[in-house]
Structures are given as structure tokens and as C-alpha cells.
């Protein structure tokens, strides 16, 4: 579910491909009526989750290259976090949880009456086994969980952490597939197994696999009464937006998430087709902001970053580059609609819509940037000229850059767009060898702002320019006040205390602006309602609608019903 791959353009889709097809994209497709429906007379739907080219079988829920339906559809977590709106975690394999006072012990009550798809009963022992396997196998432990688990009886398991770990909660409860002990304890090598016959608790189980397509079938003994209702789910791979659009229009695909230009026009002749737009990823200018860690260029001056923030005309950007589908973002980098409660200062709720060139000019003047003869400002012999990188073929981002270059001219900032191959672009971000880069801020493990602020702003998640950054703080931002507040928020599960910490962070980052938000980019998901109905909509956000979203897919697939 890398957003980058889920976003529109074909190059993106290609870049995202392989690695991501596993983790990132979910495709669900319905067997097209055009293809004659399913053999058994039941309902089969076809999903396109962004997989391209040859699909490689891998149902290992610990693997970074797994197939996306592994998470949520075949294997389930303890709880499920709905990132589409503010809500409490939904119990799946767990029923409730409780922390001890200092956040070092987490006790989980597990669900009774759940069966693995091979008929064995699910118990708290499986949960304990899963977390201990993670702890003992560093190769699989991509989340760095270091909890030892012990099942106290068949329905209770206790996880013990070495330090206060409230912020591990979404990872433990909502982002870890539980595997059956009786199968996984027998495996020779859990690291490289592709887990050919996955035994899970999910609503669907694997029926057949080929390198071009795979088929999941209903798990008849699924624990939730009356679910799922759709008999079979077919996943297919398509190479590019062109093929995806064609497949959608011809009725081959029932559920997919691709950015298709002129979506309204494409779907106009087809009453069965509909789409939903669920903006979630904040497109931002990532700046290499920290001169102390080796960043070079005018963007290391906060006034320049502020000026860019005010000089851009977001309405025009949305019209020309965002297809009019983008939503308004927030300078706090949170989602204004979902996270309003977390944004301390209502002035920071949303970004401006139009350009405020006066404000931008004022900021630059005050910072000592003087307009030169060629219309570009200068300071101490340095021109206010920056390169902004994006990836070849990300056509909307390229349009964004072109448009912003024109808009920034008005305040004496020269923007030089460059397009790079994904590899190089990514390498530059990781190593900090860029001035400005266009990218987006993704969804965290839960809606708690910690999962936006910690990876992007904490000093722990960055390093000097030239060295690959382990975390995602590509901006090289380092601010002791922010670090302190992040730690404070992590040390408690008291939301009032957290809010206070986030208020501090927001004040700092709105002033320093290491990531300059543009807008919340659209996530378009297209449906064919002729075979199945009941997908998430903007009125009913029971899950994130995108077909590439792990975990949420399991919820969507067991909720939808065959069309009348």
C-alpha cells in the first residue's frame, strides 16, 4: 500500500510493483460477467490492488514481499484500526486489552470460538507464539517489537515490554497478523517460507494460485455469523493505468483504486460504475531543512519555507494537477477532518486556499532576501533558487512542480523542477541529497498523531546528509523541544497529556515548516456495483476504501454483499 504506487500514473504503478504488490496493493476483482461468472453459480468478484506483471506467491505474513490479501483477508490481527475516521479499534481476534500503570505490560483477552481454516481451534497460545516468534527472529521483526508473550490461559495473553510502550499498541494490536502455532512451529524456516497453504482465521482462504491471478474462497467456518457473503474473490494483475481503465470500463474489474484522469467522463456511460474519493495522503514539499546536518541551499532558511507555504495558490494546483479531487490539508500535517480534535490551535486547522503573495514577500524581505535584477531574490550572494525533484512519470507531481514554479516566480523564488527515476529519487531522500522533493505523508499505524510526528520529525529517525536515514525524517529536522514532546506523548496513554505534547509539536513545526503541505491528495477507488454492493462511501466510512489497503480489505470484503 505504498501510496506512491497506489497513486495514479503508470510509472508509479510500475515502480511500486513487485515489492509493493505484496505489501501494498490489494486488488480485488470480480469475475467479470463478461467472463461468464464463476463456475459454482455463486458470486465471484474481481479485485485489482495494483499488482503488476507476474505475481509471486508469498503468503508469509511476516515477509516484506507478501501478497497484500495475506494481511486482513487471510490472516487477521487482534484489533482493527479504522483510519478513515475517528473510532475505537474494532475487536477481531482480540476482545479487549489493558495496560498496566507504567505501560510495560499489555494483557489481551482473545476471542473464543474462532477456528483456523484447517479446523484447529484458535487460542491465546497462538497469539503468544506469534509475538515470541517475532522477538526470537530478528529477520522477521520489521517493527522492532521486543515483547515477550505468555498465554495465561486459553483466552488471555500478556505481553511484557522492557520499557513503557504505549505507542506500540497499534503495532501489536492492529498491525500484526496472528499465525497458528500448530503450523508455524513445524516450519523449518519461517524466514524464507512462502507459506504455500496459508492457514488463517480470516474470512477467506486460498483456493488457487497462478502467476497471473489468484482466487480466494469463502471461509465457511468464519467466526463472525453470516459473513462473508461473497463466495469468491479473484485478484488480477494489470500493468498500467491504461489497462486498468480498460478493465474497469469493460466490466472485468469490480474494485480497484487507480487515479484515472477525467474519471467522471470515463464512467459517464456506465451506470454500474461508481467511485469514491477518500483523500488521506498529504502531498508536501519535503525540504532538506537542517544546515547543521549538512543540508545546503536557501530552503535551510525557515523564512523561505514559510514563504513557499504562503506563495502557493492551492486552488489552482488542485484544478490543474489534482484533477479537482484534492482536499484541504493542515499545516500540522494531520488530516483536518479526521484529526480536528488533535489540532490544538484552530488557526492551524487548514492551509490557505489561494496565494498570499504579500505575506510571502514580507517574510522574505524580513529575512533579508533582496529582489535581484533578474526577478530572483538573493541574500549574501546566494540566489533564491532551488531544485525540486520528483519521479519521472508521476504526471500530477510534474504538473504541480510546473505550476508552482510559475506561482513562486511572483515572489522572487526560482523553482527548478527535475524528474528522476524512482530509485534515484528515493536514494536522494534517504540520504538527504536534495533541496526540495515532492512526496506525500502517509497513513500511520493509527490515527494518533504520534504516528505522523515521530517518524517525520524526531531526531531518532534521521541522520547526517550523505548517510541513509533509517527512519522517515528525510527533512533532517531536529528540534529538542519536539523530541521531548514526542517522548512525553509516547510515555502515556492519557489523551489529555498527549494533546498537550502535540500542541507543543504543532507550534514548532508550523513555524519551522520542514515539510510544506500542499494538499491532501485524492485516493480514488472505483467500483462496479453490478455484482456486489456495500462498499465504503463518504457517508459510511466503515473502512478505508482503497483496494490496496491491507487490513481494511478484510473488513470490506466481509461486509460487501452480492447485488440483488
Amino acid at each position: 500500500m505504498t501510496h506512491s504506487s497506489s497513486r495514479r500514473t503508470r510509472r508509479r504503478a510500475l515502480a511500486g510493483v513487485a515489492l509493493v504488490s505484496a505489501a501494498a496493493f490489494a486488488l480485488s476483482a470480480c469475475s467479470g460477467a463478461a467472463q461468464g461468472g464463476s463456475a459454482g453459480g455463486g458470486t465471484t468478484m474481481t479485485v485489482f490492488n495494483g499488482a503488476t506483471g507476474t505475481i509471486n506467491e508469498n503468503w508469509n505474513p511476516f515477509s516484506p514481499t507478501l501478497l497484500q490479501p495475506t494481511l486482513g483477508v487471510i490472516y487477521e490481527p487482534l484489533f482493527w484500526y479504522n483510519l478513515a475516521e475517528t473510532s475505537e479499534p474494532t475487536p477481531l481476534l482480540g476482545e479487549s486489552w489493558e495496560w498496566n500503570e507504567d505501560g510495560t505490560e499489555l494483557t489481551i483477552t482473545t476471542r473464543e470460538g474462532v477456528e483456523w481454516s484447517d479446523g484447529e481451534p484458535f487460542t491465546a497460545n497462538d497469539v503468544a507464539f506469534t509475538f515470541n516468534l517475532l522477538k526470537d527472529t530478528p529477520e522477521l521483526n520489521t517493527s522492532g517489537l521486543a515483547a515477550s508473550a505468555e498465554a495465561t490461559d486459553d483466552t488471555h495473553v500478556t505481553l511484557t515490554f522492557e520499557e513503557p510502550s504505549f505507542m506500540q499498541e497499534p503495532q501489536v494490536l492492529g498491525n500484526q497478523a496472528i499465525v497458528p502455532e500448530h503450523v508455524w512451529s513445524e516450519l523449518d524456516d519461517p524466514i524464507t517460507t512462502i507459506n504455500q497453504n496459508p492457514v488463517g482465521t480470516g474470512a477467506y482462504k486460498l483456493k488457487s494460485f497462478s502467476a497471473q491471478s489468484y482466487l480466494l474462497e469463502k471461509n465457511a467456518s468464519y467466526w463472525e455469523e453470516g459473513k462473508p457473503s461473497v463466495d469468491e474473490i479473484r485478484y488480477i494483475s494489470l500493468d498500467n493505468a491504461d489497462a486498468a481503465a480498460a478493465a474497469l470500463i469493460s466490466g472485468q474489474v469490480d474494485w480497484m483504486s487507480s487515479f484515472l484522469p477525467d474519471l467522471d467522463g470515463l464512467l459517464a456511460d456506465n451506470p454500474d460504475l461508481s467511485y469514491v474519493n477518500t483523500p488521506a495522503l498529504t502531498t508536501s514539499i519535503f525540504t532538506c531543512s537542517n544546515a547543521d546536518l549538512g543540508c545546503e541551499g536557501p530552503q535551510t532558511d525557515p523564512a523561505v519555507r514559510q514563504a513557499m507555504y504562503h506563495a502557493m495558490d492551492r486552488d489552482q494546483l488542485n484544478q490543474l494537477a489534482g484533477g479537482g479531487f484534492a482536499a484541504t490539508g493542515s499545516p500540522t500535517l494531520l488530516l483536518p477532518e479526521r484529526d480536528a480534535d488533535w489540532i490544538a490551535d484552530s488557526a492551524n486547522l487548514t492551509t490557505p486556499e489561494g496565494a498570499d503573495t504579500d505575506k510571502a514577500n514580507e517574510l522574505l524581505d524580513a529575512a533579508g532576501w533582496v529582489l535581484g535584477a533578474d526577478g530572483v531574490r538573493e541574500k549574501d550572494g546566494q540566489k533564491l533558487s532551488m531544485t525540486i525533484q520528483t519521479v519521472t512519470g508521476w504526471s500530477d507531481y510534474i504538473s504541480l512542480n510546473d505550476t508552482m514554479a510559475q506561482q513562486f516566480k511572483a515572489v522572487g523564488i526560482e523553482l527548478k523542477p527535475t524528474q528522476l527515476a524512482w530509485n534515484e529519487w528515493n536514494d536522494n531522500q534517504t540520504k538527504g541529497t536534495f533541496q526540495l522533493s515532492l512526496d506525500s505523508i502517509g497513513l500511520g499505524a493509527s490515527a494518533n498523531p504520534y504516528f505522523t510526528y515521530n517518524p517525520r520529525y524526531s531526531t531518532d529517525n534521521t541522520t547526517k546528509v550523505g548517510e541513509p536515514s533509517y527512519g522517515q525524517n528525510f527533512s533532517r529536522y531536529s528540534n529538542p523541544v519536539v523530541d521531548e514532546a514526542i517522548k512525553a506523548a509516547a510515555a502515556t496513554d492519557d489523551e489529555a497529556v498527549q494533546k498537550e505534547a502535540y500542541a507543543t509539536i504543532q507550534e514548532e513545526i508550523v513555524r519551522d515548516m520542514p515539510y510544506v503541505p500542499i494538499y491532501i491528495n485524492s485516493t480514488l477507488t472505483e467500483f462496479n456495483n453490478s455484482k456486489v454492493t456495500g462498499f465504503p462511501s463518504n457517508e459510511d466510512k466503515y473502512a478505508f476504501a482503497a483496494s490496496w489497503k491491507a487490513w481494511d480489505n478484510g473488513i470490506v470484503l466481509k461486509t460487501i454483499v452480492p447485488a440483488e
Binding site: 505489501a23 467472463q35 488480477i236
Partner: protein
């Protein structure tokens, strides 16, 4: 014998050059697989310093070895037929991935090349024999088709036949809804159905070249003295065309054909991308896009070996068929 040895020597050098190139190129590229995998995971949300360590362990990344050691190791691997593990498709092995895609490419592009060759040589023979006939006049327009960007033509045909007329499938190698890969008639039928339009586009855009080459050789051959002699002897014109002219004229085309068979694997990338065909070219592009060194190397090696193999075969065969070649070397 000297001829054969000389040829083999050449191929040894070519092989060495290709393998060395194959070894070097991915190592000169920016980024490394660990960073790539980490970044892609990062987009899922959860990335910590531990993630990176886990991925490093998982991939067994060992980029700290000196280059020459890696190089020797690379030759060792090739000798063992072990092409390593794909990163993008971890834990699948490169040979498996190639094995999965190669048959599709060989089937589609290979067959189209053969059809194109037979058709082109047939028509070329006729055009050369009857210069100025309608077939002959077809040649300029067919060559013009060669100047049309292949993907452009293919996209238009796909749009017209697939989406507007609906007589052709839109993508893929077979119908995944109603058939399952295997030796069953439904699947084979579906493969043929799905392969028809791609094959037609390939034939249409390449037949002109064969035709022109054959026609020109035919014309040259027809002015040879032995044709005159044959005519003077009163041999039936059709026999002259086939047994005297065409048989000699086809020699360069046969050489070209064998070479182009070698390039079947290489030339398929664009076609496979347009039709979302599950072949090796498509996979090469994916490997490039996901920085999958091992997979890239493996595919490049397979392509190079097939080209070298085809060339070697032609050279050796040619020495047998056409003794003049031997003499000249």
C-alpha cells in the same frame, strides 16, 4: 577446423564481455535493495531503525566484499546455474522467476517471429520474381509500417479491437477467470485467443523488413548468369523461382532469422508492456524499476546467452551451408 576454433574463440570473448557487463551494470546503479525495500515498507507506515536491520538480515546483504571477490563469486554462481534470489519477489529465486515468464515470451514472440519470417520471405520471393506486380508495390507501404512506432500502433489496435469492438482481450496472457494454467484445451484455447492480437501487431510491424530483404536478394540473384542459363535450358519458370533463385536468395534471410530468434527474448519488452503480457520483457522492466539487481542480471544473462547461442548456431550452420563463408574467413 580453424574456422570453428576461431568462431568459438570469438564467442568465448563475447560471453566474457557480456557477463562482465552484466556484473558491472547493476553495481553502478544508484540505490541498493535494502534501501528500496525499506522505503517501500515505509510507505506502509511503520518504519523504525529495526526495520532496516531486519531487512538487511533477511536479504543477507553483503555489499562490503571487495569488487573482485564479488566478481569471482558471480562467475561461480553462473557456473552453478544459481542466479541468486530476487529481491522484489523475495524469497523466490531468479531462476524460478525466469522460468515462469520465459515460456510466455518464447511462445508469443517466437511464434510471431516465425510467422513473420515465413510470410515475409514468401511474399518477398514473389515480389522479386514479379517486379512491379501488386505485391512488389506493397513493399514501400509495408516498410512504412516499420517506421510506425510499434507501441503506438499496438495501442491503437488494442483500443479499437479490444475496447471499441470488443473482439480481442484487453490484457494478459490468458483468461484467468475461466481457465487455469495447465495442459487443458480450455487454457490452450484461451492462450491462443489472448495471443492473437499481440502476434498480429508484431507480424504487421516486422514483415516488411523480411519482405524487402528477400525481394532485393531475389532481384540480385535473378540477374546471375546461372539463372539465365537455366532459362535458356527451358526449365519451368516456377522451378527456376524456387530451386534456383529463391534457394540462393534466402541465405542471408536465414542468417537474419536465426539472429532475430536470438533477439526474441530481448525484443519483447515493449510488446509485452502494451499487452500486459506476462513475459520476460515485462519482468525485466519491473526488475529495473524495483532495483532488483539479481533479477536484472539473470534476465540480461538469459537474453545475452540466447543471442549468443543463436549467433553461434548461425555461424556454424552457415559454414556448412555456404562454403564461401569459410573460405573468406
Amino acid at each position: 577446423m580453424r574456422f570453428v576454433l576461431q568462431k568459438l574463440g570469438f564467442y568465448a570473448v563475447a560471453l566474457w564481455a557480456a557477463v562482465t557487463l552484466d556484473f558491472l551494470i547493476p553495481r553502478l546503479m544508484p540505490g541498493n535493495p535494502v534501501d528500496q525495500l525499506v522505503s517501500k515498507l515505509a510507505q506502509k507506515g511503520q518504519v523504525t531503525p529495526e526495520t532496516r536491520r531486519a531487512i538487511e538480515l533477511l536479504l543477507g546483504a553483503d555489499l562490503d566484499q571487495p569488487l573482485w571477490q564479488q566478481y569471482l563469486g558471480f562467475w561461480g554462481q553462473i557456473a552453478r546455474g544459481d542466479l541468486g534470489r530476487s529481491v522484489a519477489y523475495f524469497p523466490a529465486s531468479v531462476s524460478d522467476m525466469i522460468g515462469q515468464t520465459l515460456p510466455w515470451t518464447l511462445g508469443l514472440i517466437g511464434l510471431s517471429t516465425i510467422i513473420s519470417f515465413l510470410l515475409g520471405v514468401g511474399l518477398g520471393t514473389f515480389a522479386g520474381w514479379k517486379r512491379g506486380s501488386w505485391v512488389d508495390n506493397l513493399i514501400p507501404s509495408l516498410t512504412m509500417l516499420q517506421s510506425v512506432p510499434y507501441f503506438w500502433l499496438a495501442l491503437i489496435l488494442l483500443y479499437v479491437f479490444g475496447l471499441i469492438l470488443g473482439v480481442s482481450p484487453l490484457n494478459g496472457g490468458y483468461d484467468p477467470w475461466n481457465t487455469f494454467p495447465g495442459w487443458n484445451w480450455a487454457f490452450i484455447q484461451s492462450v491462443i485467443y489472448y495471443g492473437t492480437l499481440p502476434a498480429i501487431t508484431i507480424v504487421v510491424s516486422s514483415v516488411g523488413g523480411w519482405m524487402l530483404g528477400m525481394r532485393n536478394m531475389m532481384v540480385s540473384t535473378l540477374s546471375e548468369d546461372y539463372i539465365l542459363t537455366a532459362e535458356a535450358k527451358g526449365i519451368h519458370p516456377r522451378r527456376i523461382m524456387r530451386a534456383y533463385a529463391a534457394r540462393n536468395a534466402v541465405l542471408p534471410s536465414v542468417a537474419g532469422f536465426a539472429i532475430s530468434l536470438g533477439f526474441v527474448v530481448a525484443g519483447s519488452i515493449v510488446a509485452e508492456v502494451v499487452f500486459s503480457y506476462p513475459g520476460i520483457g515485462n519482468m525485466l522492466l519491473q526488475a529495473v524499476n524495483s532495483n532488483d539487481y539479481a533479477l536484472m542480471q539473470g534476465i540480461f544473462l538469459v537474453i545475452t546467452l540466447s543471442v549468443l547461442g543463436a549467433n553461434l548456431l548461425v555461424d556454424l550452420l552457415y559454414g556448412v551451408i555456404d562454403p564461401r563463408t569459410r573460405a573468406r574467413s
